[in-house]
Symmetry: C2
């Protein structure tokens, strides 16, 4: 796998995390994965540790036989089922689907055990996860968060600039004597300092943070996750070209 | 120190990181610290590893004597100097100050060696850092980034709501026949989907990401860092009260 590991890994790097409804040692897990025609690779994190498993065709079959001695299933059908299981991480154990997922600890790493049905027959799968090192944790967890902050800051500068343009337009109407017909539609001019103070109300911030993990890794934020990670490769190229 | 370690640590948790102009193994370091009347505690990270040192009064003096056998200095003066050194992390080695900082590796952790002047006399200090575990890395690095993303998303929702209010006000002027006297002041109605597409231009995102680390930990973002970490304690309390 050494030959294409960079390519494969880069692709998985930009795949957004999915928030899971199962926890390990009291922390909710996040999952990201990539399925090819003959293998799967997945990462799991609790935001403290990072775990991974990459399984190739031969091992896929030996594990199927071990866990499901009575089932004969072609590789593509097996990978389809694994893809379905992993795609549904955000509703595992919520009763919305037929997957039952348990996490247990083996050699200080989680094993995800999934009970499912394949063509009407009970089907069991286990993901044996291995601990990843800090460099990989940085690449999969820390850097994407950092890039999201940087990008949201840039978007914020743009939104503030647009608010200021709207204020200039409004001032122009007012200067020519225009008034709003419905008083409640009139807005206060945007003031950045007031905005920051308004936002910095502990109770409101805290209320929002209660759902920080699911929200930061929600569907809405996945597009952002994906494009900041892809842009980071470009940034690294720019950096090495310009030397800054 | 066990008695007040929670209190002390909580305070240091909310202290924002300072971006350093020195690197360790090709990665720039970030520093945060707290100085009390008789001790200091600091954290250093390269966003892959976390290191820390806490030094109490007795050890402060023995280290001063070891490194500077000819200098006699009271604890408060010594800690003042250490505070000055750490406060200037963002300009170490830039020639803007008289501190010369070197990082070397001892037992797989960095030692920060600072050459300075104390009352006109050459003064040497060394911070012997120790590796911290993943839980602490989560607390000091990952969670604050996560909270910053969550808070910036909330601020973005608010800015977008304000833009929409401005558009409603502008529509009201237009409906009553008002026009802008200077055409270039007229803005397009805010459209969230267009905004996301406009922002997602790889080259612009990449350009911004080149400075992600210094910008995310810049002076502007420090206030945000501080208040999201403080709010996270409140969020934990709310969570345990409401059970969600």
């Amino acid at each position: 796998m050494a030959d294409n590991s960079f390519g494969k890994q880069s692709k998985l790097n930009a795949v957004p995390w999915k928030y899971c409804t199962v926890s390990y040692k009291n922390r909710n897990l996040l999952v990201k994965f990539e399925i090819s025609e003959t293998s799967y690779q997945l990462f799991v994190t609790d935001l403290v540790h990072l775990y991974s498993e990459q399984l190739l065709k031969t091992d896929l079959h030996s594990r199927t036989q071990k866990l499901n001695p009575k089932i004969e299933v072609p590789t593509n059908r097996l990978l389809q089922e694994i893809e379905s299981i992993l795609s549904e991480a955000s509703s595992w154990n919520t009763g919305k689907m037929h997957y039952l997922v348990e996490v247990r600890e083996v050699a200080e790493a989680p094993v995800l055990k999934v009970e499912s049905y394949l063509a009407g027959v009970p089907f069991l799968w286990e993901f044996y996860l291995q601990s990843e090192h800090g460099e990989q944790f940085n690449k999969q967890v820390v850097s994407p968060l950092l890039y999201m902050v940087a990008e949201l800051q840039r978007q914020q500068r743009e939104l503030i600039a647009r608010l200021k343009s709207k204020d200039a337009e409004i001032d122009n109407y007012k200067a020519s004597g225009a008034t709003v017909s419905r008083k409640q539609m009139e807005t206060l001019p945007f003031n950045e300092e007031n905005f920051r103070n308004d936002m910095n109300i502990m109770k409101d911030v805290a209320e929002n943070l209660k759902m920080a993990v699911p929200n930061v890794f929600s569907k809405d934020a996945q597009k952002l996750y994906e494009y900041v990670v892809l842009a980071s490769y470009e940034a690294q190229t720019l950096k090495s070209l310009t030397g800054c």
